[in-house]
Symmetry: C2
Subunit: 455 residues, 2 copies
């Protein structure tokens, strides 16, 4: 009997697949990393199902790789050692909405858009917005963030409690419904961002926010990317409680115009959002206007109508897809450094210079309020020379970020592509990370080969 038959006997036959196209779907994410087929795809429906699968895999030393919607950008879900791809998307129940506590408890297969559809009637929303309609399990596993983190924080700031199946098959609960606690060790943030290497989440309790009374979005155009970066830093240091501030370089605007038939000026642009009470939004956007024109903004347009705002953010969010559309047959490599805000203009200027010098087919986009920016680069996986050059480029960005006190990944995670930077970034604390991994997963069955795992 093979693994698939064993698992069919443990769960049910419709929860287990070895269909070729299903295996292929689970061999990759949206990145340039080389796909690897799992041996089998399993669809758990409950914590107990996950326990069964993990216990089975643990005894036999079979890798278990959790899978959400596959929208990751660093190969986290690629089953490099084959084994079981654990597709969490049938665990998609919203278990409990606690409007007065600003909390919701979900299964990991709920996607953020579906959650927000359900929350709207309560006047609440879940804030983390990485662009893709990712699963909340995947977002927890990578400590995702995105455009709204500058105001509402990352997943680490918004995951209140977890139910986790450990490699031993044991189920633990971390955190509580309380807004704060000094009891025991803080285990929840250790699991957030652990990329499936320490345990498998089966329930996630998330913090919610009230939908603001008023929201205004804006676009500010600049002559060059330096002025654009400086203006973003000036907005933040002035203390304006901005909801989003996104830098989009000219090549991205060109790609969006071609892809979405829009007519934005093809220059470096800041996409902005202010929200709060009507009075505060008015005051904030007035103050922003003054700062932006001091910083050389050439044109500034505000949109308060919901449709126009959605169109504007749709343009921002589609920029990566639009860019990829211009390069058919190519995969996407997205750099992801995050630097202290004071170092952002320098880091962006450095990236721009390297793009030119190294002839990188890339464009810059960034969550600049957090000091986080991406260079999206189209990669032909068959072109080894190009791939090597692009990886050298990424390495230069990463070592620049580390020199100025930053990190190799602000939000995409380590996965396969940033393992090589972990020693340089974390120094001797890497031994402590390895020790925690060894203690929790001595058999290296949980997403082997990712983050710092050598398994």
């Amino acid at each position: 009997m093979g693994i698939a038959d064993d698992l069919r006997a443990l769960l049910s036959s419709e929860q287990v697949s070895t269909n070729r196209s299903v295996l292929e779907q689970h061999s990759r994410d949206e990145s340039y990393h080389t796909p690897v087929l799992p041996d089998v795809v399993v669809y758990p429906r409950s914590t107990e199902d996950v326990v069964q699968v993990v216990r089975y895999a643990s005894v036999r030393g079979i890798p278990v790789v959790p899978f959400g919607v596959g929208s990751g950008l660093e190969g986290h879900v690629v089953p490099v050692k084959r084994g079981i791809s654990l597709d969490m998307m049938q665990m998609q129940r919203i278990l409990e909405i606690r409007p007065k506590d600003f909390l919701v408890r979900v299964q990991p297969g709920v996607t953020r858009k579906r959650l927000n559809d359900q929350l709207r009637r309560y006047g609440l929303f879940f804030s983390v917005d990485p662009g893709a309609d990712a699963s909340l399990g995947g977002m927890t596993a990578t400590n995702a963030s995105g455009t709204t983190a500058v105001r509402y924080g990352t997943m680490k700031d918004n995951v209140r409690a977890l139910t986790v199946v450990l490699a031993s098959g044991e189920v633990i609960r971390t955190g509580s419904f309380a807004a704060k606690s000094s009891s025991g060790y803080n285990l929840t943030p250790l699991f957030v961002g652990s990329e499936g290497t320490l345990g498998i989440f089966t329930e996630i309790t998330l913090r919610l926010f009230g939908i603001p009374e008023a929201t205004v979005a804006g676009r500010a155009e600049f002559a060059d990317i330096q002025h654009c970066g400086n203006a973003a830093v000036a907005l933040i240091t002035a203390g304006i409680p901005i909801t989003r501030v996104e830098l989009v370089d000219a090549p991205f605007i060109e790609a969006v115009n071609a892809f979405k038939q829009t007519h934005y000026a093809e220059v470096p642009t800041l996409f902005l959002e202010f929200s709060g009470s009507r009075e505060s939004v008015e005051a904030d956007s007035r103050m922003a206007q003054e700062i932006l024109s001091d910083e050389g903004c050439r044109d500034l347009q505000f949109e308060s109508d919901e449709h126009a705002r959605n169109q504007l953010w749709e343009a921002r969010h589609s920029s990566a897809y639009a860019f990829q559309h211009q390069h058919p047959g190519c995969g996407l490599l997205s750099t992801d450094v995050c630097v202290p805000l004071s170092e952002l203009p320098g880091a962006i200027t450095n990236a721009k210079r390297l793009i030119d010098e190294m002839k990188i087919p890339g464009a810059i986009v960034g969550h600049v309020g957090d000091g986080n920016f991406h260079v999206s680069v189209a990669v032909d996986p068959a072109d080894a020379d190009a791939l090597r050059r692009i990886e050298q480029f990424n390495e230069q960005l990463v070592f620049h970020a580390l020199r100025v006190g930053g990190t190799c990944t602000g939000e995409h995670g380590v996965g396969l592509g940033k393992r090589k930077y972990q020693e340089a970034e974390h120094g001797s604390s890497i031994q402590m990370m390895r020790g925690i991994k060894e203690f929790l997963d001595p058999g290296h069955i949980l997403n082997p080969g990712k983050l710092i795992d050598e398994g």
Copy 2:
């Protein structure tokens, strides 16, 4: 040669003391827990000094208990197994202020008031305010919070990076200056709140905020504590971005009036603060006024003048001292449950009922915006019967909080007094906590007998 002589040879003679009154100072904190004298008090001046002491202690299995200003409320610094009390207060340098990054890097012996004095010239402040002028090392060790956590978060939310000396004597750095990261495992929040049991902090990087343009404080009086609690919950659920909302029960107001010669009405009161731009503060306090009168507020007074505001918060902060002043010779036991906001009115009503039924000489004060409240109880340590009754009372509050999804300690920490609740609160995740402790401190030399350590 004894421990003290060894340590004098390792460091310098003026960094080591066995003076009786120095040992007594380091035998206790502000709580009712029984003092225990350390064998020796050591004053490190650098990370290297800490490494020397820890290496020495590790080889010989001597306990090392970090000590700050001794303002803790749960006996964390009591050296229950004697050994070395490591007084961190000579490591009191502010190492680096990065105004554009809203960050500061400090040694652990810097106190929060001194830090804020230095930050004022930059228009910045460090937000966490537990009342006492605690050391930042101690605040990190207990995951302290206090009155402003409802707006700015707890220590866990505001510690960006740490330098930690592990039990092995190894020095690790966690986190970075970047506002967010998905690189490696999140070790920083694991150390925050670890109460000196996992490592000793020698550098702490903290997040800062800009001093708001305008601040208004207020006092809202109610006929009974139920209305007071309901009003606090109503303010939060209305989404008003309040900076502080503190419930102070009538007995505390009486104690403050006697202690500070003030003349506040001796009824359950909410102490409030709003801050932001002038416009937003005005809008917020107007909206709060409407909600408070709907909720039965009898009298509401706002103060925007800085002196009057300071006086008001001074009254709030001195309430515990004022209360203790009324009970000479007694220690203070402060309960510290934190419950989901929707459960707060029920939890406070329950506490009030138990105070009456069990004849507890206690009064309620709370950071009610977070669902966290304290019953301060005067305890005569010589009266074993009274102590037993008060501990039974605390136990009832804790088990009520756990039943409704809360925690036994919102901000004071576990220390000695709440170890007995750790199994009930954390269930099977306690094994993971013990495993992390074993891995990092196999000899149980770091603050033995605290949190979950059995050493």
